[in-house]
C-alpha cells in the first residue's frame, strides 16, 4: 500500500494512525505531488490530515521516546523535502517505536534510527549556520534586513535566537527560497510574505535609496576588518570554503562585493 499526504507533520502522523486503524501494510509514504516511483504496482490511498488522529499518535510517541529523540524526529522531518524517500523512513521509524516493547532510540545499528539522528543533525547544523551567517543591513527607517537561502526550512528554528539577541530593535529575516520571512517589530515576531519585485528582494542588498546613511560605511569597515584579520602567511582558502561554503557568500557582506 502507498499512502499520500499533504506534506505536513500532522499529515504524516495521520498516516501512521490510519495504518494502525485499518491494519494496512504500508510500504511507502509520499506527498500528494511527489512523483510515484516507476513500476509501483501497490494500491494508493490519500490520507487526509486529521488533527485529532495526529494528536493521538503524538501522545503515544511521547510515551515511547525521550524528549531529545522527539526533537530529533521533528527536526529530521524538515530534511525530508530534499530526499522524499525519507518520509517513508520516518513513517517506519514511528511505527516501529510505537509497537516495540523496548525503546528503540539507541538502536543505531538500525538504518532508520541512524538516519533520523543523522538527518536531524543536518537540520540543526543548517539552523546554526543561520545564527552564523545571517547579515543584517540597516534601512532608512531603522529596521534591519537580512536575506537567507537555507537548504531546509529552518527559519522557525533560528528566529528565537535573533528575537532574544536583538530584542530592542526591529528586523526582518527573509527566506528567499520558501518566500516567507519573520518581521520582529520590537515586541513580537510575525510571519510575513513580501512582494518580490523590489530589487533588494532579488539581490538581498539594500541600495542607497533605502539603506541607512551609515550603512555603506559600516560595510566598508567590516570588509576592512575581515581582510586585515587574516594572516597572509597562513592563507588557506580550502579551509575557508569548508567552514563557510560558497552557497552562503551571496549574502555575506564581507565577501559578496556589493
Amino acid at each position: 500500500m502507498l499512502y499520500t499526504f499533504d506534506g505536513t507533520f500532522d499529515g504524516l502522523l495521520s498516516c501512521v494512525f490510519d495504518a494502525f486503524a485499518r491494519k494496512e501494510d504500508v510500504t511507502e509514504v509520499l506527498r500528494t505531488w511527489d512523483e510515484i516511483p516507476l513500476f509501483c504496482l501497490d494500491a494508493m490511498r490519500h490520507v487526509d490530515t486529521e488533527l485529532a488522529h495526529a494528536r493521538r499518535v503524538w501522545l503515544k510517541l511521547e510515551k515511547c521516546m525521550s524528549r531529545t529523540v522527539l526533537n530529533s524526529l521533528v527536526k529530521s522531518f524538515l530534511y525530508a523535502p530534499v530526499e522524499v524517500s525519507f518520509y517513508s523512513t520516518l513513517f517506519r521509524f514511528i511505527c516501529r517505536a510505537m509497537v516495540s516493547e523496548i525503546r528503540i532510540e539507541g538502536d543505531f545499528g538500525d538504518a532508520d534510527v541512524l538516519a533520523v539522528l543523522n538527518n536531524s543533525r543536518k537540520v540543526s547544523y543548517e539552523a546554526s549556520r543561520m545564527r552564523q551567517f545571517v547579515r543584517f543591513q540597516k534601512a532608512v527607517n531603522g529596521t534591519y534586513f537580512a536575506m537567507i537561502e537555507p537548504l531546509y526550512d529552518v527559519l522557525p528554528l533560528a528566529i528565537g535566537h535573533f528575537v532574544d539577541r536583538f530584542a530592542d530593535s526591529r528586523f526582518i529575516i527573509y527566506d528567499r527560497i520558501r518566500d516567507y520571512g519573520f518581521f520582529y517589530d520590537g515586541k513580537e515576531s510575525h510571519r510575513i510574505v513580501l512582494s518580490s519585485d523590489a530589487p533588494h528582494m532579488v539581490t538581498g542588498n539594500l541600495d542607497e535609496t533605502i539603506a541607512d546613511a551609515d550603512e555603506a560605511m559600516f560595510k566598508k569597515l567590516w570588509r576592512t576588518y575581515f581582510n586585515a584579520t587574516a594572516i597572509p602567511e597562513r592563507t588557506n582558502p580550502r579551509k575557508q570554503r569548508q567552514d563557510m561554503p560558497h552557497r552562503f557568500w551571496k549574502y555575506l557582506t564581507e565577501v559578496n562585493g556589493v
Binding site: 528503540i104 538502536d107 541512524l114 539577541r165
Partner: protein, 419 residues
C-alpha cells in the same frame, strides 16, 4: 565613523591577528531588560572565516599598538618602524555595537600594546568594557586581555565586565622568555592568572550561597603559547599546558605557530612558513588531554620530547602501545573505545548505545561514523578479525595509515575547528 577610523581599524586588526584565540564560548546569558545581545553557551558562534581559514567570532582588535616594550617576536615592538594607531573608547564601543547589530560578530576581544604603563593601558581597556555594559546594556561577549604587570585591582575591575580574560604565556620556559622579551617575566604573567583563578572560584562559591552576586569572568580564562619562536620542545609545552589546565578556570590553551615577522632579529629562527603541522599536532594533543583522558606524559616524554609530525598523536600513542589492542567494540568500556584511532567521542557514544541492541559488525560501524580505514588495525567486531596491530608490526601499520586516501575525505580524526 570616518576614514580615519577605517585606517586605525586596519592597523590595529592587523596587529591583533597573531593572537589566535577567538572563541566566544563558555557563557550563557540571556538578554536582560530589552537591552542588546545575548551570549549562547556551548561552543560559541563563528560568524565568518577569514582567508587564512580561521574563525571570526569576535571583533579582535588592539586598542593601541604604540608599545613601550620590545619583545623580539612581536610586530608591534618598539623598535619596528610601522604605522601606529590608537582607537578611542568611543570608536571601540561604536564599532562593537554596530558590528554586533548586523550579526557580524559575537562581541569584542580587546587587547593592547603597553601604552605608557601597564596600569594606564588596562584602565582604558576596562573603560571600553564598562561603557558597553553600563551605557549600552550590551549582553554580548567580551574578552579582555589581562596586561602583564597591571595591578590586581584593575584585573578585578576588568573581570566584572568581561566574559573571559586571558594573560598570554607566549614562551613556555622562563629562560627563553627572558631572552626574547627582556621586559617581561613569568611572575607578571602567572600572578594575574592565579589571581583570576582564585577570584573565579570564589565567585562561583558565593553565587551558590548568596543571591545577587554579580558574575566574575563566567567563561574563565585562556592563554596562548607561541610555537617555534624559541627552542622549547612539545614536552615543555604540553607539560605546561597540562599544569595550566589544573587551574579550574583555565578553559583553553592556544598554540600559535610563530610567523616570522621580525626577520632581522637574529635571536629568532628564520622560518619561511609558520610551523603549521606542529601547531596542529599540539592542538590534537591538547584535545586528547581535555576530552580523551590522555595525560601529557602519555603523549610526550623526555625520550620523545616532540610529537610525531607524520601521524596524529592518538595514532602515535596506539603505535607505541600494540599490547593494548585489539579491543572488542562489542564489549570494551567507553574509555577504551576512545583510545582507538578512527573512533571519536561521537561514534564511541553511538557504539555503546547501539551494541545493547545487537552485536555490531563493520557495516554498522561504518554507518555510525567510525573511520574503519584506521580503526581496522585496532579492533575486532562481530565478524572475524582482520589482521590487527599485534599480528602486523607497528611500523607497518604506521606506513599504511600514512598512505594518502583519495582527495576529498579527510584522513585525520575529526577534531572540531581549532580556533
Amino acid at each position: 565613523m570616518t576614514e580615519s577610523t577605517l585606517n586605525k581599524l586596519k592597523i590595529l586588526a592587523e596587529a591583533a591577528r597573531y593572537d589566535v584565540s577567538c572563541s566566544s564560548s563558555g557563557t550563557v546569558r540571556n538578554n536582560k531588560d530589552k537591552g542588546i545581545g545575548n551570549t549562547v553557551g556551548g561552543i560559541g558562534v563563528c560568524h565568518s572565516f577569514a582567508a587564512d581559514g580561521r574563525c571570526i567570532s569576535l571583533l579582535k582588535v588592539m586598542m593601541s599598538n604604540v608599545c613601550l616594550y620590545d619583545c623580539a617576536y612581536c610586530i608591534s615592538r618598539r623598535s619596528n618602524d610601522i604605522p601606529r594607531a590608537t582607537l578611542t573608547v568611543k570608536e571601540l564601543v561604536n564599532l562593537t555595537i554596530e558590528f554586533y547589530r548586523r550579526n557580524y560578530i559575537e562581541g569584542l576581544f580587546l587587547s593592547s600594546a603597553i601604552v605608557k604603563n601597564p596600569d594606564f593601558t588596562m584602565e582604558c581597556m576596562v573603560q571600553v568594557a564598562k561603557e558597553l555594559r553600563e551605557v549600552h546594556r550590551f549582553n554580548g561577549y567580551i574578552h579582555l586581555k589581562g596586561i602583564p604587570g597591571a595591578s590586581l585591582e584593575l584585573i578585578n575591575l576588568a573581570g566584572r565586565y568581561a566574559d573571559r580574560m586571558s594573560v598570554n604565556v607566549e614562551i613556555p620556559k622562563q629562560k627563553s622568555l627572558q631572552y626574547l622579551a627582556p621586559e617581561k617575566n613569568h611572575k607578571n604573567i602567572y600572578e594575574p592568572m592565579k589571581y583570576i583563578n582564585t577570584a573565579v572560584l570564589e565567585n562561583r562559591e558565593d553565587r551558590r550561597s548568596l543571591l545577587h552576586v554579580p558574575r566574575f569572568i563566567p567563561a574563565g580564562q585562556s592563554t596562548q603559547m607561541i610555537v617555534g619562536a624559541s627552542d622549547d620542545t612539545d614536552h615543555d609545552i604540553l607539560t605546561l599546558s597540562s599544569s595550566l589546565y589544573r587551574a579550574k578556570s583555565m578553559r583553553r590553551v592556544y598554540y600559535s605557530g610563530y610567523v616570522s615577522v621580525n626577520t632581522y632579529d637574529s635571536r629568532l629562527p628564520a622560518l619561511k612558513q609558520p610551523p603549521l603541522v606542529r601547531e596542529n599536532r599540539l592542538y590534537q594533543a591538547d584535545w586528547l588531554m581535555r576530552f580523551y583522558q590522555f595525560r601529557a606524559d602519555e603523549l610526550v616524554d623526555p625520550k620523545n620530547p616532540n610529537l610525531d609530525l607524520d601521524v596524529d598523536p592518538k595514532i602515535g600513542w596506539a603505535l607505541r602501545h600494540p599490547e593494548f589492542f585489539p579491543i572488542d567494540v562489542n564489549k570494551a568500556p567507553y574509555e577504551m573505545l576512545l583510545r582507538v584511532p578512527g573512533i571519536g567521542v561521537k561514534s564511541a557514544n553511538l557504539i555503546v548505545n547501539a551494541r545493547r541492541y545487537r552485536a555490531l559488525g563493520s557495516d554498522h560501524l561504518k554507518k555510525i561514523g567510525v573511520v574503519l580505514k584506521r580503526a581496522q588495525y585496532f579492533i575486532v567486531c562481530r565478524e572475524l578479525p582482520s589482521a590487527v596491530i599485534g599480528d602486523l608490526s607497528p611500523e607497518y601499520v604506521k606506513l599504511r595509515l600514512m598512505l594518502p586516501s583519495g582527495p576529498s575525505r579527510r584522513t585525520v580524526d575529526r577534531y572540531p575547528s581549532l580556533f
